[in-house]
Amino acid sequence: MTGPLLVADDLHKSFGPTPALAGASFRIAAGEIVSIMGPSGSGKSTLLHCLAGIVAPDSGRVAYQDRDMVAMSDRERSALRRSQFGFVFQFGQLVPELTCLENVALPLRLERVRRREAERRARDWLDRLEVTDLAGKRPGEISGGQGQRVAMARALATAPRVIFADEPTGALDSLNGERVMRLLTGAARDTKAAVVLVTHEARVAAYADREVVVRDGRTRDLARAA
């Protein structure tokens, strides 16, 4: 295993008087799949948001490829998120006015890829995630499981080095959840992308290489504890 791709040390973050993180640490290597587990309100989503540069910690360090993300300007962090990170959330969060193909092509267009090339790559990812037939449909016309696969295609289209998945199966039944996890982890392993997977479901976490547990804003790496 190579050195860590993304590292967080001793993160603290409070929302008003409520501490969400109280000394959380995390590291992930290139191509590794790590699940973050913990009860509701334990701080696992806040940890993911800090790792992805969406939320700034009150104190502590987050580094991507040895670059301090906390010290970056908003513009630098946005550029990093667009070019290096992909996101999958619990409810797809597709743009309702765009077709599925346009949704998947969107991050590529934001990176100034020409329309024809962006749509070609988007179509490849829709094929890969077994939703080719949905290219011309809008998010309101498809099921939750299909929407999640389109969202994964969008997350993977820019060939990210890290995919952040926050409860990606939370709104799906067991069968669809399993399909989403199989496709997500398969695509990540094929493209050597790392995956930070937040979940409260052990069966979903079992797709990861290892687990980190968050309790009361602190992390515990069970592989190292055992």
Binding site: P39, R182, E201, A202, R203, A205, A206, Y207, A208, D209, E211, V213, R215, R220, L222, A223, A225, A226
Partner: protein, 174 residues
């Protein structure tokens, strides 16, 4: 698992030798725990004695003679009754895990470490079964899913217990 009734069910498709029955059983139901020959022939003797199978033919072989077994009408009725009766759900009321947690609390040992160690072991097995399921056929997926759902239930109990440790400690040490 009732080996006898499973044999009867397999014999409904047609008569078989003991060796063929063992192979059919191991392929479908015993990948992790294949039958011993002793179990096969002891089970067939019992089924024969109870009139649930009969010897359908005897073939001479290089070693001992090979008997071919067929299910009887009584045997088919027995399988039918078995399939129609619900299995008794296991109440899981006295588990080793529960005993260990209470003992740790009573003796002042760190119960949360015990829960974390167990949690890591459960997750390790769940990862192994998930890999096996991904590489396996539908039968493998069904077997692994059954185990995964049970392990997940244990993990939920471990999580809930971890959240209640302070209350439990007060209750058992009062």
């Amino acid at each position: 698992m009732s080996i006898g009734q499973t044999f009867l069910g397999l014999l409904e498709a047609g008569p078989r030798h003991g060796y063929d029955l063992k192979r059919a059983y191991d392929d479908r139901f015993g990948r992790d725990r294949p039958l011993h020959y002793g179990q096969v022939y002891a089970t067939l003797s019992r089924l024969l004695r109870n009139g649930l199978v009969e010897v359908d033919g005897i073939e001479p072989g290089e070693g001992p003679e090979r008997k071919r077994y067929a299910v009887t009408h009584a045997g088919v009725t027995d399988v039918q009754r078995w399939l129609a009766s619900p299995e008794k759900p296991d109440p899981y009321l006295q588990s080793t895990l529960y005993t260990k947690v209470v003992l740790a609390l009573v003796t002042g040992r760190p119960a949360s470490d015990l829960l974390d160690t167990q949690r890591a072991e459960h997750l390790r097995l769940m990862r192994e079964l998930t890999r096996r399921k991904s590489d396996g056929d539908l039968a493998d997926q069904l077997v692994c899913d059954h185990a995964l759902f049970h392990l997940e239930a244990d993990l939920r109990w471990l999580e809930l217990t971890a959240a209640r440790l302070d209350d439990l400690r007060r209750a058992v040490t009062a």
